[in-house]
């Protein structure tokens, strides 16, 4: 594992700055002393950003209005379950055309400005300036809380998202857990 800091600043990000002690203890207790994985997947970047097609993914439980929303009722009934499905988001999505269903954050900010979690407007600006080659037709959302079982997310949703990105010839994917 390599760790560097942008701009030469030696400061390490404090992952627990906003969590409070209860959540810090809960979340940090899940982190193993040694890496829990065998290998990290790696695909080298093959072309400059200015020639690349970029897709965004958020774990904010976003869905287009009219599409089935992420299932919050089932999670309320079973607190250790989280909806493992995914939703496609149109590249022209805005706060007015999406829903945000996620019981672990205040989704009000996203409903006022989608760019706080899925910066489609900012990406569009970078494409128009030539900094980024193009924007995928589709962006993606999952719902970040997966409870005790991540198998459906890993074995069904993630491969489906990957295939959708491949079908649109996406070059790079920027993922943002919320």
């Amino acid at each position: 594992m390599s760790e560097t800091t942008a701009g030469g600043t030696p400061r390490e990000v404090d992952a627990w700055r906003f969590t409070g002690s209860f959540l810090k203890n809960l979340l940090s207790s899940r982190i193993p002393d040694e890496p829990a994985y065998a290998d990290i997947p790696w695909t080298p970047v093959s072309k400059p950003l200015s020639e690349s097609k970029l897709a965004l993914l958020s774990t904010a439980g976003l869905s287009m209005q009219g599409d089935p929303p992420f299932d919050m009722e089932k999670e309320r009934q079973n607190p250790t379950w989280g909806d493992p499905s995914w939703r496609p988001l149109r590249s022209d999505a805005t706060s007015e055309t999406i829903e945000a269903n996620h019981l672990h954050i205040d989704t009000g900010y996203i409903l006022r400005d989608l760019n706080v979690a899925l910066p489609v407007d900012r990406l569009r600006e970078l494409v128009s300036e030539g900094v980024v080659g193009s924007m995928a037709e589709t962006h993606y959302s999952t719902m970040g809380f997966q409870g005790n079982d991540t198998s459906e997310l890993e074995q069904k949703s993630a491969p489906e998202i990957a295939r959708s990105m491949q079908s649109e010839e996406v070059d790079l994917a920027l993922l943002a857990p919320v």
């Binding site: 594992m1 390599s2 760790e3 560097t4 800091t5 942008a6 400061r11 390490e12 990000v13 992952a15 700055r17 906003f18 209860f22 959540l23 940090s28 899940r30 982190i31 193993p32 890496p35 829990a36 994985y37 990290i40 997947p41 790696w42 695909t43 080298p44 970047v45 093959s46 950003l49 970029l54 904010a60 250790t80 672990h104 954050i105 205040d106 989704t107 996203i110 400005d113 760019n115 706080v116 979690a117 910066p119 900012r122 990406l123 600006e125 809380f145 409870g147 993630a158 491969p159 990957a162 990105m165 491949q166 070059d171 790079l172 994917a173 920027l174 993922l175 943002a176 857990p177 919320v178």
Partner: protein, 101 residues
């Protein structure tokens, strides 16, 4: 899974220590409150800077598991930064109930 399918990924992540749990290919660690990884409502300048900084990690990372700490500082102190839902999430409510129980 996306990376394994041939598409390079960067994960913009507040909980970057989870790298040890899940093994992310490239991490852009950010010290922002949950729900607003790219910046605050209406702050297009910060959203743009964070997006650009995360995209630059694609160009700098040379090996799997690369973690880069972005230099952004959230303007408000934690006590004045609201991110929690109006009601505790079901799992938090359950755990708090058990702890009191």
């Amino acid at each position: 899974m996306i990376e394994a399918a041939g598409i390079p990924t960067v994960t913009l992540n507040m909980l970057w220590p989870y790298q040890k749990l899940v093994g992310m290919s490239r991490v852009a660690a950010i010290e922002h409150p949950f729900g607003r990884p790219y910046g605050d409502v209406g702050d297009a300048k910060l959203q743009r800077e964070v997006l650009l900084a995360a995209l630059e990690v694609f160009e700098r990372a040379r090996q799997p598991g690369h973690v880069e700490h972005l230099p952004f500082v959230w303007p408000d102190p934690p006590k004045q930064t609201k991110w929690h839902p109006a009601e505790p999430s079901p799992i938090i409510a359950l755990l708090q109930k058990r702890r009191k129980g």
